[in-house]
C-alpha cells in the first residue's frame, strides 16, 4: 500500500507533491479536496473557475500532465506527482513568459469572451485540444470544444480565435 490515510472520518491530511505552473509545491491535502478547490481556496489561484462543480460546464478545465481535464472532479490527492498548468501559467508553459499565450492574445483580438468567467477553461481546453491533435476542421473544433459552455454565447469567436492560432502554428 502506497498510502493509507488511517481510520475513516479522521480529518487527516496527506502529503502530496504537485508541480503547479512550473513550481514544485509540497502540500498537505484532505482526501476530499478537489484539485479545483485546492487551486481556488488554498492556493488563491482563482483563475480556474467553478461553474458547476460537476463536470458539466468546463469552466474548471486545467492541464494535468499536458491533458485537459475537469479539475472539479479530480481529487487533489489522486494527482500526487502530477504537473498542473492553469490559466495563470499557460503563457509560461508555452515558453511565453511575460507575454500572453497565443491563444490568450487571439481570444482578446477575436473578442472570444464577454463576462470572462468561462474563459480560463476555454483557454486551457483549447490548448489541450490543439495538443491532442484530433480536431482540424471548424466542425471538429466545435465538437471538441463542446465541453466548455459559454453562456454569453461567444462560440463563433472562440472558434475563430482557435483557428487563428492553429493556422499560425501550421505556418511556422
Amino acid at each position: 500500500m502506497l498510502i493509507d490515510s488511517g481510520s475513516p472520518g479522521a480529518p487527516a491530511t496527506i502529503g502530496i507533491s504537485l508541480t503547479i505552473n512550473g513550481e514544485v509545491r509540497e502540500l498537505q491535502v484532505a482526501p476530499w479536496t478537489t484539485l479545483l478547490d485546492l487551486l481556488r481556496e488554498d492556493l488563491d489561484l482563482t483563475g480556474t473557475k467553478k461553474g458547476c462543480d460537476h463536470g458539466q460546464c468546463g469552466a474548471c478545465t486545467v492541464l494535468v500532465n499536458g491533458t485537459r481535464i475537469n479539475s472539479c472532479l479530480a481529487l487533489a490527492v489522486m494527482k500526487d506527482g502530477a504537473e498542473i498548468v492553469t490559466v495563470e501559467g499557460l503563457a509560461k508553459h508555452a515558453g511565453q513568459d511575460g507575454a500572453m499565450h497565443p491563444l490568450q492574445a487571439a481570444f482578446v483580438e477575436r473578442d472570444a469572451f464577454q463576462c470572462g468567467y468561462c474563459t480560463p477553461g476555454q483557454l486551457c481546453s483549447a490548448a489541450g485540444m490543439i495538443a491532442e491533435g484530433h480536431a482540424t476542421s471548424r466542425e471538429e473544433i466545435r465538437e471538441a470544444m463542446s465541453g466548455n459552455i459559454c453562456r454569453c454565447g461567444a462560440y463563433t469567436n472562440i472558434v475563430d480565435a482557435i483557428e487563428d492560432v492553429m493556422h499560425a502554428g501550421a505556418a511556422r
Binding site: M1, D4, S5, G55, I69, L73, A74, E132
Partner: protein, 337 residues
C-alpha cells in the same frame, strides 16, 4: 461531500483487500461520476480505494481480440489505432459521449459502472428506490421524458447512461473481474441488469470485485457499423435514444446483424429475436422495419416519454441502414448519415 479515508494500493491484490476492509468502500479512478455523486451526497463512501496506480492501463492482443485494461481512459481507447481500425464502433460510441475533458479522465472500468442520470436519483430531496431502497419512485408519473421504455419495474424506470457500453453490448465483449472468489469473465449482456425489485444494483459485479479488463472478441464488424445518438443538443448531452449497429453482409444478404439501444433501459438493450429475424434477409429498409417492429413490441411508455418508442423505432431503422451501407455516423459532422 462526506468524509472518508483514502488508500492507494499498487497491486490488484491490495486493492481487493482494501475494498473489503470497510463496509462502504468504493474504487475510484477517473472520478468523473463518483466525485459528482459524492458532492450530491448520493454516494457516501467511508473509504476510497484509489486504483489509478494499478497496472491496468494497457491495450493488448488477446485470443484474437483485444484486452482493454480497466484504467485505459476513454480518450486513449477511442483514438487507439487498433480500436479505430478493428472496432470502429467502439471508438465512435466513446466519442459520442461526454466531452473531451471527461473522456480524458474517465476510464473503461468506470464507464461500465457509471450510474443513471435520473433527476430523482441525483436529488436527495426526492424519493428514489435506487438511491434509497423502499423510498419510492417519483419519476413514475413525474418528469420522465429521459426515462426507460424497456425493462422497467414499478420500482425504477431509470436508464443506463453510457454510450460506450451500448457499443460493447453489440460487440459482445466480456468483462473480466476479480475478487476474493477469484477471477471470472462476465458476458457483457449479463454485466448490467434490470431494476426489478432491487434497483439499487446496476450491475452483477459484486461489491468486493474489481474490473480488470474488457475483452473484445476477434470479430469487430469494421466494415459495417454505426453509432447513432439522438439527444437534446448536438454534443455534451446524454442520449434520448442511441443505437449501436453491426452488420455482416453476404452480398446484399444479411449474414449477421446485431444492434443495441442506449437511453431506453436500465442496461444496453438488445433483442435476440429481432436480430435473428434479420439473418438471411436482404439488407433493405423493409427488413430493418421488421426488426424494429419486433423490438418495439416490448416497449412501455411513461407519462412523458412516449416519443421514445417512435424515435427508437426510427433510430433502429436508420442505424441498420447506416451500418449496412457502410456509412457510419460521424461524431463531428452532425448531419445524420
Amino acid at each position: 461531500m462526506n468524509r472518508f479515508d483514502y488508500v492507494r494500493p499498487t497491486t490488484v491484490e491490495e486493492a481487493v483487500k482494501a475494498i473489503g476492509s470497510a463496509a462502504n468502500a468504493r474504487f475510484i479512478a477517473g472520478g468523473t461520476n463518483l466525485v459528482d455523486l459524492m458532492k450530491y451526497n448520493v454516494e457516501r463512501p467511508e473509504r476510497l480505494v484509489d486504483i489509478t496506480r494499478l497496472p491496468l492501463e494497457g491495450i493488448e492482443e488477446h485470443e484474437g481480440g483485444l484486452r482493454i485494461g480497466a484504467l485505459v481512459t476513454n480518450s486513449t481507447l477511442a483514438y487507439d489505432e487498433r480500436i479505430q481500425n478493428r472496432y470502429p464502433l467502439l471508438s465512435s460510441a466513446i466519442l459520442a459521449g461526454a466531452s473531451g475533458q471527461l473522456r480524458n479522465a474517465a476510464t473503461t472500468g468506470g464507464n461500465l459502472n457509471q450510474r443513471t442520470r435520473c433527476y430523482y436519483f441525483y436529488d436527495e430531496a426526492t424519493p428514489c428506490n435506487k438511491r434509497e431502497p423502499g423510498s419510492g419512485c417519483q419519476a413514475i408519473g413525474g418528469v420522465n421524458r429521459i426515462h426507460a421504455i424497456f425493462g422497467t419495474s414499478e420500482n425504477c424506470i431509470a436508464t443506463h447512461p453510457s454510450d460506450m457500453c451500448v457499443a460493447l453490448a453489440a460487440l459482445e465483449a466480456q468483462v473480466r473481474v476479480t475478487g476474493p472468489g477469484g477471477e471470472r469473465r462476465i458476458p457483457f449482456a449479463e454485466f448490467h441488469r434490470l431494476p426489478g425489485d432491487t434497483p439499487q444494483y446496476d450491475t452483477t459485479l459484486k461489491a468486493d470485485e474489481i474490473v480488470l479488463s474488457v475483452d473484445l472478441p476477434d470479430e469487430g464488424f469494421a466494415g459495417h457499423h454505426t453509432y447513432l445518438k439522438l439527444r437534446d443538443r448536438l454534443s455534451y448531452a446524454f442520449a434520448l435514444v442511441s443505437v449501436a449497429a453491426l452488420v455482416r453482409l453476404d452480398g446484399n444478404t444479411i449474414g449477421e446483424a446485431r444492434f443495441a439501444l442506449g437511453g431506453v433501459a436500465h442496461k444496453p438493450w438488445r433483442n435476440a429475436e429481432a436480430e435473428a429475424f434479420l439473418t438471411g434477409k436482404p439488407a433493405t429498409r423493409e427488413s430493418f422495419e421488421g426488426a424494429a417492429e419486433i423490438v418495439m413490441r416490448e416497449a412501455k411508455p411513461q407519462s412523458e416519454n412516449g416519443f421514445k418508442i417512435e424515435l427508437a423505432r426510427r433510430a433502429i431503422i436508420r442505424g441498420l441502414t447506416q451500418a449496412a451501407s457502410g456509412t457510419p455516423q460521424s461524431q463531428s459532422d452532425k448531419r445524420i448519415a
